[in-house]
């Protein structure tokens, strides 16, 4: 960790780089707030979920289960299954983030969404990664997700689900731009091809978002195998 002015710059940079992702999360969260209300959650319940769980796909998946009064264990197990991919992201994050204290890591881990993971790994590809950068990204995502949830839950009935004006595509574009930072050498193209094929098959054949973990594992193993040969 370096001095305070540098750290502040890193916070801001992390938040600024996250802007398109945070706007995407904001728009998605309005939708989440609206759907949660129609699933029978109150405004405080909806907001509590976004504040504490802070995981888009798991939260969406919980809604039909909650409105059907599924067993709490079922809902919690579903959440765990959907979030398994974070284990893989967590391991890979530790390879680029060094010398950070445990308490700070515990905070960083809370904000380890798909978006922040994607952004910080792209950053780490080009320069040393700092924890303030990650926390800046987390903060932007957290504000976007929670403000959006509150708006959707509180006012959703009035404004209806949002027109997303290319915001959903902006999030995809950020992922595409970030992945190009990794495209050096033969194994990388193999990873790209394998992960693309597995994710397409996974979306069509596997439940929920398990294509992420399938392609994350399969693609990276292909990369390791190609590097050897």
């Amino acid at each position: 960790m370096t001095g305070a002015p540098k750290a502040r710059g890193e916070w801001i940079q992390g938040a600024a780089d996250s802007l398109p992702l945070a706007l995407g999360a904001f728009a998605l969260a309005i939708g989440f707030g609206v759907v949660a209300r129609t699933a029978g959650l109150s405004v405080p319940e909806t907001s509590l979920m976004s504040a504490l769980v802070f995981a888009g796909s798991a939260q969406f998946a919980a809604l039909p289960l909650l409105s059907a009064s599924a067993a709490p264990a079922t809902i919690i197990a579903t959440t765990a299954a959907i979030n398994l991919r974070h284990l893989l992201m967590g391991v890979s994050l530790t390879r680029v983030l060094r010398g950070v204290s445990r308490p700070l890591l515990a905070a960083v881990a809370f904000g380890l969404t798909d978006e922040t993971y994607a952004l910080v790994m792209g950053r780490a590809q080009r320069q040393p990664l700092s924890s303030p950068y990650i926390l800046g990204s987390f903060l932007a995502m957290y504000v976007g997700w929670n403000v959006g949830t509150g708006l959707g839950a509180g006012l959703g009935a009035l404004i209806g689900p949002p027109e997303r004006y290319g915001l959903d595509f902006a999030v995809t574009a950020v992922f595409i731009a970030l992945l190009t930072f990794f495209l050096q050498g033969r194994p990388a193209w193999g990873v790209l091809g394998a992960a693309a094929a597995i994710s397409i098959g996974g979306v069509l054949l596997l439940p929920g978002n398990s294509h992420l973990i399938a392609a994350g594992l399969g693609g990276s193993l292909v990369g390791a195998a190609l590097e050897k040969g």
Partner: protein
């Protein structure tokens, strides 16, 4: 607020946090076998690909034909600019403009 719902939310929060923190906190600054390091180097690209490709092709698990061409146009523009300039902001901004332009032309 219903107590049972609050408890379920707490349980969801706990398991989510465990998946995010388990390795992040415990494996930090710990060397791994060379084979594992070689594997882990490729995980970010694999996950980024799995985040990007379905967003390009699918909406809610099905091919989205009305949006397919605009998304491919925007995705191609983003990809080429990111490769050429290495600038995240420029690549995304031009990509979104290409997407919106193609959307307007085609619908």
């Amino acid at each position: 607020m219903r107590v049972e719902v609050a408890l379920i939310i707490l349980g969801m929060a706990a398991v989510t946090y465990v998946t995010r923190a388990a390795f992040t906190v415990t494996l930090q600054d710990r060397p791994l076998p060379a084979l594992a390091e070689r594997w882990l180097r490729h995980v970010p690209l694999a996950i980024l690909t799995a985040l990007a490709i379905p967003g390009l092709l699918f909406t809610g698990g099905a091919l989205d034909f009305p949006l397919l061409l605009p998304r491919l146009a925007g995705g191609l523009a983003t990809f080429c600019l990111a490769r050429r300039t290495g600038n995240l902001f420029v690549a995304v901004a031009v990509g979104v403009l290409a997407y919106l332009g193609a959307l307007r032309l085609l619908t």
